[in-house]
Amino acid sequence: MASRTLHFKIYRYDPDKDRKPYMQDISVEVDENDRKLLDALVKLKAKDDSLAFRRSCREGVCGSDAININGKNGLACLTDLSSFPEGKPIVLRPLPGLPVIRDLIVDMTQFFKQYHSIKPYLINHDPPPERERLQSPKDREELDGLYECILCACCSTSCPSFWWNPDKFVGPAGLLAAYRFIADTRDQATNERLDDLEDPYRLFRCHTIMNCVDVCPKGLNPTRAIGKIKALMVARAI
């Protein structure tokens, strides 16, 4: 693949000068070293230094560069440029459902507030032993598919229930984290955690629409975790 030109339609909004957001048409040359959408964004920024977006690790582990790409949430650094059809402009927007600060940068306060609301830390009231707390490899396996979350917010911002109630519904990322602690044999607060979630908004706003599973760049499955929380609630209620 030699160099080629990519066309973009990018959501632009600078509160300092724009009365309202608009879509900017812009194109950029990329060459064979530019594999990912993030590479193209970096080149775009070299052209127009006012384009604002977040990025850091460029390898899909930090969760900075989640944006809405052709209508679907994803990480720019993991999106292949070759996956875009020729001739059609690539449409980039900020993550839906959160307030926009500038261009592709959204205000994630609400998202992290929900994450913090589930008490995302291990609760164990026993005095810590001299050595590690023991955990069998099988019990440890329960945490696989849960602890890998990078808090990118792709899932929660594609969830209609989160759009309508971002202040009250914990959202898929937060619920995945909640189950990560419920599933940890070292955590002693399972009942308190279930009590806290037993609420028509916090947990039961999830209607199993599965958008979250579809977009998670790490291949995690929040819906399954949510199902397991519900199953535990049923088990304790009957």
Binding site: A46, S56, D184
Partner: protein, 597 residues
């Protein structure tokens, strides 16, 4: 124009929320001090999140192990440039800090008996260098991620006050040299603040982005180094940079050494397992500097692979697919994403890639920043601490062992935090007054950027710096290239002083942020080039063509003239040296020896 600075007062301010910053924050918050933690990114987006292989601790879960053996390996790995007091301190503390993390919920992999899983890693041996030992505590190939999240979570529990997406700009120091906080930019509003504090801890990470090809994140721009250098603090041992043998060719993304630990083999264009020629015993698992140089030699001699013959291949196609899926799931993902190959079926193209900065802000093992003064070569700078990759304690000396960096940030993050707690308890309630010119440097830098006309483009200047560093100060160092490199990098520095940005807006102006970052990177780059040019020996990661292996200088190492730490001062672009501490805290000195694996 920037004119106003809002002042906020804290007991302590920590700059950086990676592993080192978060560990220090836990110590201060749990001791009840009013602590501000500043970070350019949300804490879990710091680059510690990318660490793969593990964290070293002689827990002895898999087989017998001892901190003294770990200490021996670290001194040897450092090519005797590490300070032995700090190394002893770190290796003795390792078990404690790793167990703490486990108690805080870090999801380590487990052995059948329920204890933390440990894997072998390059350079970590049993019984003073006898045979490899399993010392690296791991959570799959996502150890850094698991660690960083666990520490962030502990901070949530401790109600630490975070200032997320705030960039520290400059250190505030008074006439007596005492550090009184930092100035900072709130990215979301573009407003300038000063954090007035009795203790200031730097944990800003490395400057790996000064090289063109790097495993580091975009944000690893050495801000702490730049701020310290501008405030008159020297930078120690900046010529020592670790090049990791296996970065994905083109992308720079890291492929952990653990891949070779699981049986991966390096091959050249002839399909030959060339490491057999360079390290007959350890082969592909020789130490990082040895493997990296062997790869570069193969490529230079025309046995590289690909259309431009500029990389070699890392082959694991002979491993059972189940092993790859279970032990290296993240690596398979990276190979598919960034090399476009599934390692189960095809080898991965790799090249040595800039990875880790051994040098940094000089500290002692308590995490206090130290500089040469009238009384000693290690006088404490009051109120100033540093830990993690931005600091130089110095435990890694001329070459870091894999998994010792995550340990470094835990041990010294904790000790910096705890030393600050002890000092804060002794200090008066009131803050010392800020000097009159506290904000001058910051405002001058910002306003220079505002008014610059016909200046240099930030993106292009950064590329020029990165290419200059890569070409003149890479894996192998050549006397004439270094000499040229010094002139070139000083020229780049002049351009950096005249960068211009088109976007002058206030809200989340990333153009301004990148320009300010470049001003920090160039300090690290100049320090590196100048220190490297001056050190006329080969030691650890610093290998010169004009200092080969001779009987007087084994491996090119010259202990008579060069067993000393470099100190680079920004003012006058001046070098100074200080002696290496060969005296451990309690045990006997590990005597100088030729380094061979």
């Amino acid at each position: 124009m920037f004119r106003t600075v809002t002042i906020r007062k804290f007991d302590a301010v920590i700059v950086g929320a990676g592993g080192a910053g978060l560990r220090a924050a836990i110590a201060l918050s749990e001791a009840g001090f009013k602590t501000a933690v500043l970070s350019k990114v949300f804490p879990t987006r710091s680059h510690t999140v990318a660490a793969q292989g593990g964290v070293a601790a002689s827990l002895g879960n898999a087989e017998e192990d001892h901190w003294h053996w770990h200490m021996y390996d670290t001194v040897k790995g450092s090519d005797w440039l590490g300070d032995q007091d700090a190394i002893e301190f770190m290796c003795r503390k390792a078990n404690e800090v790793v167990i703490e993390l486990e108690h805080w919920g870090m999801p380590f992999d487990r052995l059948d008996n329920g204890r933390i899983y440990q894997r072998p890693f390059g350079g970590h041996m049993a019984n003073f260098g006898e045979k490899p030992v399993r010392r690296s505590c791991a959570a799959a190939d996502r150890t850094g991620h698991a660690m960083l999240h666990a520490m962030y979570q502990r901070n949530v529990r401790a109600h630490t006050q975070f200032f997320v997406e705030w960039m520290a700009l400059d250190l505030i120091r008074d006439e007596e040299g005492e550090v009184l906080g930092v100035t900072a930019l709130e990215m979301e509003t573009g407003d300038i603040y000063a954090f007035h504090a009795k203790a200031t801890i730097f944990a800003t990470g490395g400057a790996g982005r000064i090289f063109a090809s790097s495993t580091n994140a975009f944000i690893n721009t050495g801000d702490g180094l730049g701020m310290a250098a501008r405030a008159g603090i020297p930078l120690e041992d900046m010529e020592f940079w670790q090049f990791h043998p296996t970065g994905v060719a083109g992308a720079g993304v890291l492929i952990t050494e653990g891949v070779r630990g699981e049986g991966g083999i390096l091959r050249n264009s002839l399909g030959e397992r060339f490491m057999e020629r360079y390290a007959p015993n350890a082969k592909d698992l020789a130490s990082r500097d040895v493997v990296a140089r062997a790869m570069v030699t193969e490529i230079n001699e025309g046995r590289g692979c690909g259309p431009h013959k500029d990389y070699v291949l890392l082959d694991i196609t002979h491993l059972p697919p189940e092993t790859i899926m279970k032990r290296l799931p993240g690596i398979r993902e990276i190979a598919i994403q960034f090399a476009g190959v599934d390692p189960i079926k095809e080898p991965i193209p790799v090249v040595p890639t800039c990875h880790y900065q051994m040098g940094g802000i000089p500290t002692n093992y308590l995490g206090q920043v130290v500089v040469p003064g009238k009384r000693s070569q290690n006088e404490v700078v009051p109120g100033f601490y540093a830990a993690g990759e931005c600091a130089c304690a110095s435990v890694h000396g001329a070459n870091r062992l894999g998994t010792n960096s995550l340990l470094d940030l835990l041990v010294f993050g904790k000790s910096a935090g705890e030393t600050a707690v002890e000092e804060l308890k002794k200090m008066p309630k009131a803050h010392k007054d800020l000097p009159k010119d506290a904000f001058e440097r910051t405002l001058a830098r910002l306003n220079r950027l505002e008014t610059q006309k016909d200046g240099a483009n930030v993106h292009e200047t950064r590329l020029l710096m990165q290419r200059t560093m890569q070409k003149h100060c890479g894996v192998f160092r050549f006397a004439h290239l270094l000499k040229e490199g010094v002139d070139k990098i000083l020229e780049v520095q002049k351009r950096v002083e005249q960068t211009e940005i088109r976007d002058k807006s206030k809200v989340f102006n990333t153009a301004r942020i990148e320009a300010l970052e470049l001003e920090n990177m160039i300090e690290a780059a100049v320090a590196t080039m100048v220190s490297a040019e001056a050190r006329k020996e080969s030691r650890g990661a610093h290998v010169r063509d004009d200092c080969p292996d001779t009987p007087e200088c084994p491996n090119g190492r010259d202990d008579v003239n060069w067993l000393k730490h470099t100190l680079w001062y920004k003012e006058g672009n001046r070098l100074d040296y200080k002696s290496v501490n060969l005296r451990p805290l309690t045990v006997e000195t590990i005597p100088l020896k030729k380094r061979a694996y």
